[in-house]
């Protein structure tokens, strides 16, 4: 795609230079022949043809998403399209006719253009635009016309998104490695302690084995979550459209969290309208969504707090709310809680033992159903997750 754009840009730029030079030549001819009436007509149509060709190439350049810059051997900007002007935060009219070193406030980009002009050779590199988040892959090629060196054409490909993705990917790998390593280190430590004699220590060996078991479960959960996330993300998982009774699903979910709810003396309330609260969705996905949200509402609640699950629907959408009376999420973190491994506070999820992937899985599941999820929160008062699913999904 980018290669095609580069070839297109190069062709368009070369054509624009040639037509530019042609037009100049025709105009010179016109001047020298001024007064010669016989040549007038032929000249007129030549000028028109040249102008049309020029306008066409400029229209192509203007429609390109990539920034295009054509610079003559004296560093003078012959062509700069609007995409380039936008990229460097300027206006097209301010660029053409200037020197390239006047328009770029970046030493590396200027050096690259210099180098390409001096050595008349193709170059490429990645450069960020100062004081902006933008990163460009810049490809510079020399332009020759009839054996004459006419300058260079530089094509600016916006790779900002790609760079952000690369960063997110490497952060994810670093996070996964960390999350996997922590329980593993603990398991290895206790196994070693047992082997070195603690196995004969009747008082402690069961405790140590218990710790090993806990951490193994944690690893298992993390790997399950990772696989689940990757299945949802890759689109490999198929979703059914079947009747789901959310009230029944909630009862079932609460049953599996019974011990944790009792231990924290939490009160669970539910409000559904209409009743029975049945809609079409993938039952397995709804169970995962509900179980993750209830799990969160338990973990981050205060002792003796409340969990409220409410559902309502109209012809267009099903709306579900899961509310807790817990510690809440600071405003600045609200939009980020759905990111993988995002932690509001480093200490928080360590205590609660989550994999750090729950909300991310929920978000993907909801989105695969064509729905949306958002969080609202007040610190020390609680958090509400609002889910909206289109009917019939």
């Amino acid at each position: 795609m980018t290669a095609l754009a580069a070839v297109l840009a190069l062709a368009a730029a070369a054509a624009s230079i040639v037509s530019f030079l042609l037009l100049r030549r025709v105009r010179a001819l016109e001047r020298s022949l001024a007064g010669d009436r016989g040549a007038d007509e032929a000249l007129g149509s030549q000028i028109q043809a040249a102008e049309e060709a020029r306008n066409r190439t400029f229209a192509i350049l203007e429609s390109m998403a990539e920034g295009v810059l054509v610079v003559d051997p004296e560093h003078r900007v012959l062509v700069a399209n609007s995409a380039l002007a936008r990229a460097i935060g300027s206006e097209k009219a301010r660029l053409e006719g200037r020197y390239s070193w006047e328009i770029f406030r970046d030493a590396d980009i200027n050096e690259m253009i210099d180098d390409a002009l001096k050595r008349r050779r193709a170059l490429e590199g990645e450069h960020s635009i100062p004081l902006s988040e933008l990163v460009f892959h810049i490809r510079v090629s020399p332009v020759f016309g009839a054996g004459e060196f006419l300058g260079i054409v530089a094509v600016f490909f916006d790779v900002t998104k790609l760079k952000q993705l690369e960063k997110a990917r490497s952060e994810f790998v670093a996070n996964v490695s960390h999350e996997l390593k922590t329980p593993l280190t603990s398991i290895m430590g206790f196994v070693e302690t047992l082997k070195e004699g603690a196995i004969d220590d009747a008082a402690n060996r069961m405790r140590f084995l218990g710790i090993i078991e806990d951490h193994s479960k944690k690893l298992h959960r993390l790997i399950e979550d990772l696989l689940s996330l990757s299945r949802v993300e890759s689109g490999a998982r198929e979703f059914k459209s079947e009747p789901v009774d959310l009230e029944a699903l909630l009862r079932q979910t609460l049953l599996s969290f019974e011990r944790a709810i009792e231990a924290r003396r939490l009160k669970v309330e539910s409000r559904f309208s209409p009743r029975p609260f049945v809609f079409r969705a993938d039952a397995k996905a709804m169970e995962e969504i509900l179980s993750n949200l209830v799990d969160n509402a338990i973990k981050y609640n205060r002792e003796g707090g409340r969990i409220e699950v409410a559902g309502s629907m109209d012809a267009a959408a099903v709306r579900i709310e899961v509310r807790d009376t817990g510690i809440g999420i600071p405003e600045a973190d609200l939009s980020r809680v759905f990111e993988r491994f995002y932690r509001v506070e480093k200490s928080r999820s360590k205590e609660s033992g989550g994999s750090g992937l729950g909300l991310s899985i929920v978000k993907h599941l909801v989105e695969r159903h064509g729905g949306t999820i958002r969080a609202e929160s007040r610190e020390n008062e609680g958090t509400v997750f609002h889910l909206s699913l289109p009917r019939g999904s």
């Binding site: 301010r94 020197y99 006047e102 406030r105 004081l131």
Partner: protein
């Protein structure tokens, strides 16, 4: 003869802008050293300072030669004297970037005192001011230059705010004093960079309008010079 002088002026402008780009890059690197806690960036800053110092001497030399040989008048004379001053300002900007890097290296040896919010914001503003002042120079845009002068007030305000905030840290905990003072110094360096951007902008106004707006002198003096 005239055309050759134009060529010489063009060459001089090009060298000045190159130096400006390097100085601007140095500010970015110095702030990155502090905020991202990357000591290697300080080394980059120190390396680039040598380039800036060399450019400063060469540009000054060229301007003096041109003044002596061409004896320019009116706008050309204003341009040359302004280049001489901008050259000096840019060298000082590079110095401030070095100061920030040196202080940052001290700070990196200690745990962070607080999350840095105002200082990166201030650095962004100061960098924008330098960029706009150069843009104003390139385009001979007095309006943009005036805007830069106004932005300076915002930077001054943040500098005061940083000082007040860090004062509270120092009052609470004597162990925080060294780090707080270092951050105050960095904030001051950034404020100085913004001042240099203001100076450059005032020089641009001088080139374009022949009017000296330093210290609000234009409000007292009569019609512009020609």
């Amino acid at each position: 003869m005239e055309r050759h002088f134009d060529e010489e002026l063009k060459d001089l402008k090009q060298r000045l802008l190159r130096m400006a780009d390097v100085a601007q890059e140095m500010i970015g690197l110095a702030v990155r050293c502090l905020v991202e806690r990357e000591p290697a960036r300080a080394e980059d800053v120190f390396r680039l300072e040598e380039t800036v110092n060399r450019s400063e001497v060469e540009i000054e030399d060229s301007v003096l030669k041109l003044l002596a040989l061409r004896q320019p008048i009116a706008r050309d004379l204003r341009l040359l004297t302004a280049i001489l001053k901008i050259n000096n300002d840019l060298e000082r900007v590079a110095d401030q970037a070095c100061n920030i890097s040196e202080t940052a290296l001290y700070l990196l040896k200690e745990p962070p005192l607080k999350p840095l919010i105002d200082i990166p914001h201030m650095a962004g503003l100061a960098q924008k001011m330098i960029k706009n002042s150069l843009e104003a120079f390139v385009n001979q845009d007095a309006a943009l230059a005036k805007e830069v002068c106004l932005d300076d007030d915002a930077v001054d305000r943040i500098n005061d705010q940083v000082f007040r905030e860090l004062l509270t840290y120092m009052m609470q905990d004597p162990k925080a004093v060294q780090r707080a003072v270092d951050l105050i110094l960095i904030s001051r360096n950034l404020e100085r960079i913004a001042d240099h951007a203001t100076n450059i902008s005032e020089d641009v106004i001088f080139i374009v309008q022949g009017k000296n707006v330093k210290h609000h002198l234009d409000e007292e003096t009569g019609p512009p010079a020609h």
